[in-house]
Symmetry: D2
Subunit: 353 residues, 4 copies
C-alpha cells in the first residue's frame, strides 16, 4: 500500500497521514522525492482500509501495490537512491561510479595496508576485506574476527577509505556496524531473513549480494526485508549465478542490471571477481559491468595472491587493477558516468599492532 | 586426515591416539564401526604430521582424505548411520522408513491437534510444523514463535510423535533444542555457517535440507559443519532444485539419492511437497522417492489447506496422505524397507490454552 | 481452434464440418473419442471465422484454444492415446507398461542377437539399437547405417520384438520408416523442425525425446509439429535435463510425468540410462520412473558393456536388466499397471550375413 | 593428433607429411600460421602411429591432443582466424568489429530494402534476415523461402552488404550457399550433426550459434564438425543461455567470450537481441558484448517492429541502432578495436518484383 501526497502537501499533512497509519497498527515509511512525498505502508497482510487514508488532507492517491515488494519499488520512489557516507565524498548510485577493492580476507595489518595504499592511489574510495569469512569447509580459514575489523578501521583512517566488510551473524553484524562503513550480506545469506532484519536495524548502509540462484524478485524481497526495518541505504550486488556453464566459476548475469534499474531505485554494483573465478577474466567482466550500466564494481585485489588465504586465483595484482581502472574511465563516459581520479596517498608505515 | 585402528585395537589405544591428536592442536572424532574404529581428525588446515600418528600402537593406517569432507564420508564410517530418538521406536536410516508429516506452520492448538491425530493414525512417527517461518516477504506470517513450540510439545505428549521444526537463528535454535526432537535447517540456510555451527553444538538430531542450488559436495560440506562441532546425528533432505523447468515449483532431483548413498553414511529423506508445489503431484513424487531408495519422506498435511496461512496449495488432506501411505508400503518392500503400521490413537481434546 | 461434435453426431455431419474447414483454407484433424468426436483445426494463424462452423449440423461447441498446442492437448482428446503396432500385442500407453531395451549402437549381428535374446526373455516387447548415431565428436563411431537397420530387422523376425531406432536426417528417416517399427527423434533434434515435419509424414509411430533444456511447452510443441503433419502416434520420452547438478550425467525430471499426464493424451516413457550416465544408478531411476507414473522405460543393455562402441558405462548387463524388471513388476501394481511376463525364446543362431 | 612443422620447413615437406597421413587412412588439415605450419590429423579414432610421422623431413613435433577438438584449438593454430569475404572489405575477427543487422524475417522487398538502407548508413557491412524460420509453433510464419533469398541477394547488390541467413535443412542450405554470403546455423540446430556436416562442405563461411544449453566444449565440437569437413571459416555466436533467471528471455553469458578467446582461434560475436527479448535491453547488452571483447554484434532491426511477423518486441528501430553504434565506437577503442564508419548510401527504390 502506497500513499502519494500532493505536490504542495505540507510536512504537517504528511505527518498526520503517518500518525493515522500507526493508529491502524501499520508502519509508515515517508520517502521524500524531488517533487512530492510518498508514504509506504508495511505490516499490512491484506488490504488496509484505504478509504480512511484517501480522505486525509494532502493525499493525492492511495495505490494498492500488486508486486510483493513496496519500499524497493520505483513506483514508490522514482528518483535513484544515492547512498552517502558521512564525512566523505564517496557515494553509491550517483554520477561517480563506486569502486570498491581489496583482499578477500584481512590476513594481517601489513598485508591490508599494502593493498589499501595501492587501492587508494587508483582513486577508489572503498576498501573491501573480510574479517568473518563464510567458508564452504569448516576446516578452512574463518577470518581474523574483531582483530580484522580493527585493522580495517586503522586502514580507513590512514588512507581515507570507506570500509566494506561482511557480517555472518548477529555478533559480527553488531561489531561491523560499529567498526565499518558498510555492512555486506553475502550471497549465501541473501535469504537469511533473521540477519536481514538485523541489518535493517543497523546504522550503516548495507551491500546485499544476490544469491547464487536468486531470481530478481527474491533479491528485491531481500532488500525489502532490510528496508522494512527502517534502513533505506541498500546497495544490490550481482556476482554471478549458478548455471550449467562450466567455463567460469559463475555466470555473470549482466542482463539483471537494466532489469534492476527499471524496477527499483536502489543502486546495483557488479562483482566481477567472484563471477570469473580466474584473474584473467576479471577485467573483461568489469568492463562489461560498467558498459551495461552498473553503479560500480567491487574487485578483489591482493599484493601476493599466490599466498592469499582465500580466493587468490581470482585476485588482481594492484597494477592490473590500476590498468583496468584506466579502461573503465572511457567506458564510463559512454554511459554518462565518471570514475574517481587517481590521487596521491601519503606514505604509511603499517606498524604491526 | 583419517586414522584407521586395527580390528583388535583396545579402547586404551584408541584413546591414546585421540590424546596425541589433541596435543598436536587438532580435534579427534572417534567413530566406532562394526569391525574396527576410525578416528577422524579435523582442524588441520594442511597436512598433519602423519608420521607421529602412524607409529602409535593399534594404528592400522593413516589416510590423507582428498575429498573436502571427512566426517560425513563413507570412507570414515562404512555402516549406515541410524539416527535414534530417546524413549521412542522412531528411527531415520534404519529398516523402517521415516514418515514425517504435518502442517507447514503451527497456526493454533486446535489446528495442530487435528492434523497430529490424523498423522499418528497412519503410523507416522514424526510430526512436522513450523513455529519460526523463513518467508520470502517480510509482510507474510512469520510463525507463532515459542508459543508454537509449546503447542508442538503438547501434541508430542498427546500422540506419541517426535517433533521436527525449523530453526532460523541462534534464539530459535536454542528454544527448539529444548522443546523439540529434531532441529530442521531450511534450504535457504544450508550455507548459513554460523547457524550450522550452533546446530552442531545442540543436543538434538539435525534435519538439513539441501539448498535450492546446492551441489552434492556443498550439501555434504554443510553436514560436515554440523558434525565437526560434535553432533553426528544429521539427516539430509532433498526438496527439489532450481532449474529452468517451469512445470513444477522445483525439480525433485531423485538422482541425488543413490549418489548420497555412495558417498556418505548419513540418511537422506525426500520432501515431495516443496518440490511439487501442487497437491496433485505430491503422491507421485513421494512414490518416486521411496522407489529410488530414500530413507523416508517429509510431507505437508493440513485439515483445511485452503485456509492455511502458508503452503496450502501443496498440502495434502489427511485422507490423501493415508492413501499415499498405503501405496508406499508395497514400494518399500521392493527396496527392502518397511513402513510403520497404522495405529489406534486415543481421542484427544485440543483444549485451547 | 477446436470443434466439439455432439455425442450423437453422425459421421456425415463430422465429415461436413471437415469439408467446410478445408474450404476455409485450414486443415481438419478429426479425433474420435469414447463418447464424442472432436475436430482440431490447424493452419489458422489468427482466428478462424468461428461463426460459420458453430452453425453447422452436429456441432456442440467451438473452442478457441489459448495454449499454443492443439492436437497434443487433453482439451482436444481426453482419452489417453494408446499407440499400437500391427501384428503385435505391443502397446505404449495402455495398461501394460512398455519395456524397450537394447544396446546404444548396433555393432554387429552377433552382438545385437545376443542382447535381443536376453531382452526378449524378460518379456520386453521392444528392441532399441542405434544405426545412425548423433555423436558429439565428428571423430567418434557414427553407426553402421543401413546395414545396422538390416540387422535390427532380422532380430525383429527372430525374436518377435518391435524395433525402435533413431533418425538424424531425411535419408535415415526414410530408411527407418521402411525397416523399423518406431522412429526415434533424439534429444538434440527435438527442435529440428524440418526433421519433425518429415516424421509427421512417416507411417510409423514416433518416439520423441525431450531436449536437454526443453520446457514442457516446447516438448509439446515439438509433438505438435509431428501431429500437425498427420502422424498422431507420438510417444514422449523424459531422459534427463541439464542443470548445475554434477553428480549425475543429467537430472531426471520425474515431476514432468504427472505434468504431462495432465496436459496431453500422449504417452510418456522414461530413459533412466541417459539420465544416470552410470550403470549403478539405472535401476533406482527406473523404479522411480514407474512409481511416478510413466508409461514405460527405455533402457540400454549390452552383453559386454566394457567393449561397447558407445555408452558402455551406462549400459546394464542382461541379468541386471532382468532383476530390475522383477522389482518393477510390484511397483507397477501400485500404480495400476502391469508388466509383460517373461517368455521362452527359441534358440537363434546369429549367423553373420 | 597434431604435427608441427619446422619454422623453415618447405612446402614440399609439408605436402609429403600430408600424403603420408592420407596413406595411413586419415585426413590431413594443413593450417599455415605466421611463423610455421601445423597439420591437424582427423579421422583417427585412437592413436595414429606417431613414430612414422615424427621421422619425416621438416617435422618439429607430433602432439597428441587430449581435448576432443582439434581443428578449432589454439594449440593447432595460435593466430586468430580472420574470416574474409570476396570482393568486400568486410571481415570477422579482424581489427574492425563486425556489425550485422537486419530484420528477424524477410517479409517483403519493400520491408527489407528500408531496413537495409538504414543498416548500411550506420556503416555496418552485414545484413541479416531470415528466409527459412525455425519456429516453435508449426502454425507460425515459416519464412518466405527461396523468394526471401532473392530479395536478400537484391539488397546485397543495392547496398553493398554481405548477407547472413539461416539454413534449417539440406535443401535450404544448398540454396543459401548459392544466394548468400554466410550460412547461419541456429541455436536449435547446433547439434544437428547432419546439418553441420553439410555446412562443412559448403563454400561460404558459417555463423554457428551456441545452443541454449550448450557447454563451451559442445559449442567447439559443433564447430569441429564443420571444420572436419573442410570449411575452416567458422564464426561462433553467443546469444544467451537458459537459466532459472526470468527477467530476460535468456541469460547473456558474457564470460564465454574470454573463455573462447583462450581456447580457440575462431572469432565469436554476440547477439544481444535474442538474449534480451526486449528492445530496451538490447543496447546495454550490446555495449557489454563489445566491452568484454567480442568480435562483433548481430542485432535485429526493423522499421516497423510492432507489425513484424516475428521477434518484433526485441527489434530496434533504425535510429536506436544508429545511436547504439555511436556508443560502441568509444568502447571499441578501449579494447583496441574499430567500428566501420557511417557511409553515404545511394537512394534505392525498392520496386516490388
Amino acid at each position: 500500500m502506497l500513499v502519494l501526497m500532493n505536490v504542495d502537501a505540507s510536512d504537517e499533512q504528511t505527518q498526520a497521514v503517518c500518525n493515522r497509519v500507526e493508529e491502524l497498527g501499520y508502519r509508515p515509511h515517508p520517502l521524500p522525492g524531488a517533487t512530492r512525498c510518498a508514504i509506504g505502508i508495511t505490516g499490512n497482510h491484506g488490504a488496509v482500509e484505504a478509504d480512511s487514508l484517501s480522505q486525509l488532507a494532502g493525499v493525492a492517491e492511495v495505490i494498492a501495490v500488486s508486486k510483493p515488494y513496496k519500499l524497493v519499488s520505483r513506483d514508490m520512489k522514482s528518483e535513484d537512491t544515492v547512498v552517502r557516507f558521512e564525512g566523505s565524498d564517496a557515494t553509491v548510485g550517483g554520477a561517480e561510479l563506486a569502486l570498491m577493492a581489496g583482499p578477500c580476507s584481512v590476513e594481517s595489518r601489513a598485508q591490508l595496508f599494502r593493498v589499501a595504499e595501492a587501492v587508494a592511489k587508483t582513486g577508489a574510495r572503498f576498501l573491501r576485506g573480510g574479517a568473518f569469512k563464510p567458508r564452504t569447509s569448516p576446516y578452512a580459514f574463518q577470518g581474523m574476527g574483531e582483530q580484522g575489523l580493527e585493522i580495517l578501521a586503522a586502514a580507513r583512517e590512514a588512507f581515507g577509505l570507506r570500509v566494506v566488510t561482511e557480517a555472518i551473524d548477529h555478533e559480527s553484524l553488531a561489531l561491523i556496524d560499529q567498526y565499518a562503513d558498510m555492512i555486506q550480506i553475502g550471497a549465501r545469506n541473501m535469504q537469511n531473513f533473521a540477519l536481514l532484519k538485523l541489518a535493517g536495524r543497523a546504522s550503516k548502509p548495507v551491500l546485499l549480494k544476490r544469491g547464487i540462484a536468486a531470481t530478481l524478485d527474491e533479491l528485491l524481497m531481500a532488500a525489502e526485508y532490510v528496508m522494512s526495518e527502517g534502513n533505506y541505504n541498500v546497495v544490490l550486488c550481482e556476482r554471478g549465478i549458478r548455471t550449467f556453464a562450466d567455463h567460469s566459476r559463475n555466470t555473470l548475469d549482466v542482463s539483471v542490471i537494466p532489469a534492476v534499474k527499471k524496477l527499483t531505485h536502489l543502486p546495483i554494483i557488479i562483482d566481477p571477481s567472484h563471477a570469473a573465478g580466474k584473474r584473467d577474466k576479471v577485467a573483461p567482466l568489469g568492463r562489461a559491468g560498467v558498459a551495461v550500466g552498473a553503479d560500480g564494481l567491487i574487485v578483489e585485489v591482493h599484493c601476493d595472491p599466490d599466498r592469499a588465504l582465500s580466493d587468490g586465483a581470482q585476485s588482481l595484482y594492484p597494477d592490473q587493477f590500476a590498468v583496468m581502472t584506466q579502461g573503465l574511465r572511457k567506458i564510463a563516459e559512454v554511459v554518462g558516468r565518471t570514475l574517481p581520479e587517481p590521487r596521491n596517498v601519503p606514505a604509511v608505515v603499517a606498524v604491526a599492532k
